[in-house]
């Protein structure tokens, strides 16, 4: 009987532990994913709130009102056509065609779900329609409009789809988050809907693409980490091709570079050398470094919903590993994430969490919340970052990224020409990631041009323009 009583108590403990587990898990998941669930485009609740609440304004970092609402609570976009089109993927449109925009993801603020009890009572007393909070973003709408114009006007990116991201590598503040093609949120959606380039898609955070040679930043870090003689080792690119498992690794345009060091290989973006490097350090080490830079992680940024990046873990053979060293073979990342990679190198290996929200003010103008910067991860040591920074500067001064250089600025960068496919068609996407090495202008940039063919020709010139605007030249 006594033992039986002991077993009763054990079962009580077990059952209560199960219930507490459920409760604890519930609290954990609501606090972690709650805003994502709430902001989901499927959530009909804030559409219901539209009847009783006038949504708050969305402002850019300089106070430009990007979105407001009329007395009925209907969204309007008071900026000019160029700006409101360029900003549409960040701000959102009336029908919610773009997913996870500020308008939907920050709905809890904009639709007044965070108002205090006193404010609700006050609204009841005055009998006015309740107003949501005003949200100030970190983006600079002028800069983003300029980038959109550059995208549309420069010869090698004209008419092409793509994305551009600018962020402050010290704080993680996102200054521009452009996805091309843009569309006018006040215009007719019928033509936009059928556009084969899918303008509703926010490529900056949703397009997970092979990063191509821009991934060599990570391969270089990993090689320096894991290969004892990394800086003196000579890689063989005398024929311009490497045979692995009876398949050929070749360089862009079948160039051959001879016997070269890692530094030189980085500068000329030699696929053969990086394929050999990847095989020398091994899949496991390369994967480890990539994961330190955020690959395979479940991105749960506070302000942004970003598709996860991939470093493949299945079907690995030498050929696949070799191509991974050059950022191909199922390695994939978003333009925003590649911007974070460059920013981490710039910030002594410290990767900052990207931020889109500067502050939230109540309708009465009282600041409800200020937001702070947060470190996302320590991607690599400051020494390694400094070495790779040197390589990246070579790329801009004398390598493949010369088009990004700006007179008088110390710019580091890496180009990429990544092979991908659109609807079964083989295409080459152009990439450029880089940053200004100057404490006064702590900005990292990532440019992605779909079917841009060559990173140095299509993406780097846009980055060149961006660097110019950022520094006021």
């Amino acid at each position: 009987m006594k033992q039986q009583r002991f077993r009763f108590r054990v079962m009580a403990f077990l059952l209560i532990a199960l219930l507490l587990l459920a409760g604890g898990y519930g609290v954990y998941s609501v606090s972690t994913y709650g805003s994502r669930w709430f902001g989901s485009s499927y959530n009909t609740r804030y559409r219901a709130a539209k009847k009783t609440v006038i949504p708050g304004d969305i402002l850019d970092r300089n106070g430009v009102v990007l979105a407001t609402a009329d007395e009925e609570g209907k969204r309007t976009y008071p900026t000019g056509w160029h700006t409101r089109s360029a900003m549409v993927h960040v701000v959102g449109d009336q029908d919610g065609n773009v997913s996870n925009t500020v308008d939907s993801f920050q709905a809890s603020y904009l639709w007044g779900f965070e108002t205090t009890l006193e404010e609700r009572i006050e609204a009841l007393r005055t009998g006015e329609k309740r107003r949501g909070d005003n949200v100030t973003l970190t983006v600079d709408s002028t800069l983003q409009t300029n980038i959109a114009a550059a995208f549309a006007n420069l010869e090698n990116s004209k008419g092409k789809a793509g994305a551009a991201v600018v962020m402050n590598y010290k704080t993680g503040e996102v200054l521009a988050l452009l996805s091309v093609p843009t569309f006018d949120p006040l215009g007719s959606m019928d033509a936009v809907k059928d556009d084969p380039q899918h303008p509703f898609w926010n490529r900056a955070v949703q397009s997970v693409q092979a990063p191509g040679s821009t991934f060599k930043i990570i391969t270089a870090v990993s090689t320096l980490q894991n290969l004892a003689d990394a800086e003196t080792h000579l890689f063989d690119c005398s024929t311009g091709a490497t045979m692995i498992m009876d398949q050929i690794i070749r360089d862009y345009g079948y160039e051959h570079h001879g016997m070269i060091t890692l530094e030189k290989a980085f500068q000329v973006s030699c696929n053969n050398s990086f394929a050999q490097a990847a095989l020398l350090i091994g899949d496991k080490n390369l994967k480890k470094t990539a994961e330190a830079f955020g690959f395979n992680d479940n991105f749960l940024f506070r302000d942004l919903v970003v598709e996860n990046s991939r470093y493949p873990t299945q079907n690995r053979n030498d050929f696949e590993v070799a191509w991974s060293g050059a950022g191909q073979s199922q390695v994939a990342a978003t333009p925003l994430h590649m911007c974070m990679v460059a920013a981490a190198i710039a910030n002594d290996g410290v990767m900052m969490e990207p931020r889109l929200l500067m502050k939230v003010n109540s309708p009465a103008g009282v600041q409800r919340l200020g937001f702070t910067s947060k470190v996302y991860s320590q991607a690599c040591t400051p020494e390694l970052a400094a070495k790779v920074e040197g390589y990246m500067k070579n790329v801009v001064t004398k390598g493949t990224g010369k088009a990004a250089a700006v007179e008088g600025l110390s710019i580091a960068g890496k180009t990429g020409s990544a092979e991908g496919s659109i609807d079964g068609r083989y295409v080459t996407h152009a990439w450029f990631v880089g940053y200004i090495d100057d404490p006064a202008y702590p900005y990292a940039v990532s440019v992605f041009v779909e079917e841009g063919a060559s990173g140095g020709k299509a993406a780097a010139p846009i980055a060149h323009e961006i660097f110019g605007w950022l520094t006021g030249q």
Partner: protein, 437 residues
């Protein structure tokens, strides 16, 4: 008592009243529900059903927690909590009725009353029936007949054939059989009769499998396993039982596409939003919309959640009252478990101890399965949330189970006061005075 004078008698009575902190708890409870029903019924235009409920529901609480315990010693804290949950169910259902044209709140109030009657019957059953030997076999045969009935004349609802229709009302026999299951398993186990024990569990499981009622089958199985463990203490065989269940789960996953899909939906409901992930995605959005403190009683959009009135009612609670309140609801279930097990521990007879444990295990497992499912800790299985979910059979079975528990508790109290009388007599004979006087 006879030695007390009138003054002492009065002081004793007063002390007895003061010793009932539950009265205050019940008063707060009644006030809470009175004002809540009043609030909703007067919101737009006066709703007379709501006004009626504002009086009926507190009256039911009063009857169950203050009036009923006058006739036998009851666990009043347990009673207060169970009645709170029942009334909460009525309130939530009434608040979601709104302009939808349903009258589930009123229905549920009737079921609540029915549940109280079921509870009373079960209390009387445990308290006054002394000879179970024949009765238990009658119950066993009756229960098996009842649970198998849907196979013959059942209707399929939500993929499971576990309902029977009588006229305009539908019944779920597997719910009512839960009461019988606890009685039968406890009886056979306390008499160490393993063959009929296994036979009954096996037959019930087989029938439930045929009806594709996996959630209920899981509850039956876990209750049986827990009762087996606590009465025999045989860890090895319990482990075999657990492994068997695990193996069956893996086999089911490998063999049946719909089980696979359910697991996939559990892992990422958003991917299947358009089809089978819809329900859990809506549940998660509702919970997230409530936040910590909830959107408020009668507000929010609970009706977009599929089966918000039964399986997913916990999500509605979280949306309207907030996550904190949801956790407190869980704590109430935890208190039910604690009271149940302490009743089991202080029971004098093996049969009664196992009844109390069986009831506790069954309610605990069912609560975990549904709340864990709603919070996405485990795949969502369609079982009701005890006391709260809409439904007459569920209410009757849960209140009946609580009746069994209260019956055991009242017997324990009787035994205690009997002990007290004996020690008092002995003390008097020895010329001592007890500290309590």
């Amino acid at each position: 008592m006879s030695r007390m004078n009138a003054r002492q008698q009065a002081a004793w009575e007063k002390r007895k009243v003061r010793r009932q902190p539950e009265r205050r708890l019940v008063a707060v409870e009644m006030l809470f529900f009175f004002s809540a029903f009043l609030l909703i019924s007067l919101k737009e235009k006066v709703d007379f059903v709501g006004l009626l409920l504002a009086f009926v529901v507190p009256a039911l609480i009063f009857v169950a927690t203050i009036w009923m315990p006058r006739f036998f010693p009851a666990d009043k804290l347990l009673m207060a909590i169970v009645n709170f949950l029942c009334a909460l169910g009525v309130l939530i259902l009434y608040s979601t009725d709104g302009d939808a044209g349903t009258s589930r709140g009123f229905q549920q109030a009737l079921y609540y009353g029915l549940g109280l009657i079921a509870m009373l019957i079960c209390i009387l059953l445990v308290r006054y029936v002394r000879r179970w030997r024949v009765l238990i076999w009658i119950i066993a045969v009756g229960a098996l007949g009842l649970i198998a009935l849907p196979l013959a004349i059942g209707t399929e609802i939500n993929g499971a054939t576990n309902w029977i229709r009588i006229g305009s009302t539908s019944l779920q026999p597997s719910e009512v059989v839960k009461i019988a299951l606890v009685l039968i398993l406890s009886y056979f186990m306390s008499r160490r009769k393993l063959v009929p024990w296994l036979g009954f569990v096996g037959l019930c499981m087989g029938v439930l499998m045929l009806q594709k009622d996996l959630g209920t089958a899981l509850i039956y199985y876990c209750t049986g396993l827990i009762l087996f463990y606590v009465s025999t203490g045989n860890l090895a065989l319990t482990g075999v039982g657990l492994l068997g269940a695990g193996g069956a789960a893996i086999l089911g996953y490998k063999m049946f596409a719909h089980v696979k899909r359910r697991v996939a939906v559990w892992r990422n409901p958003w991917q299947y939003y358009e089809t089978s992930g819809y329900q859990i995605a809506q549940v998660l959005m509702a919970i997230a919309s409530g936040g910590l403190l909830g959107v408020g009683l009668g507000l929010g959009a609970p009706r977009v959640i599929p089966v918000y009135f039964t399986d997913c009612i916990f999500a509605v609670i979280c949306e309207q009252f907030g996550v904190i309140f949801g956790i407190l609801t869980l704590v109430m279930y935890a208190i039910i478990i604690i009271r149940g097990v302490s009743t089991a521990v202080s029971a004098r007879r093996g049969f009664h101890a196992l009844i109390a444990m069986g009831v506790t295990a069954m309610l605990g497992i069912q609560t975990f399965i549904i709340i864990g499912g709603v919070l996405k800790l485990i795949p969502l299985t369609g079982v009701t949330m005890p006391f709260v979910s809409y439904g007459g059979t569920s209410m009757v079975s849960c209140m009946g189970l609580i009746g069994l528990l209260q019956g055991v508790h009242s017997l324990n109290q009787d035994d205690l006061s009997y002990d007290y009388e004996i020690s008092r007599t002995l003390a008097q004979q020895a010329g001592l005075q007890l500290a309590d006087e």
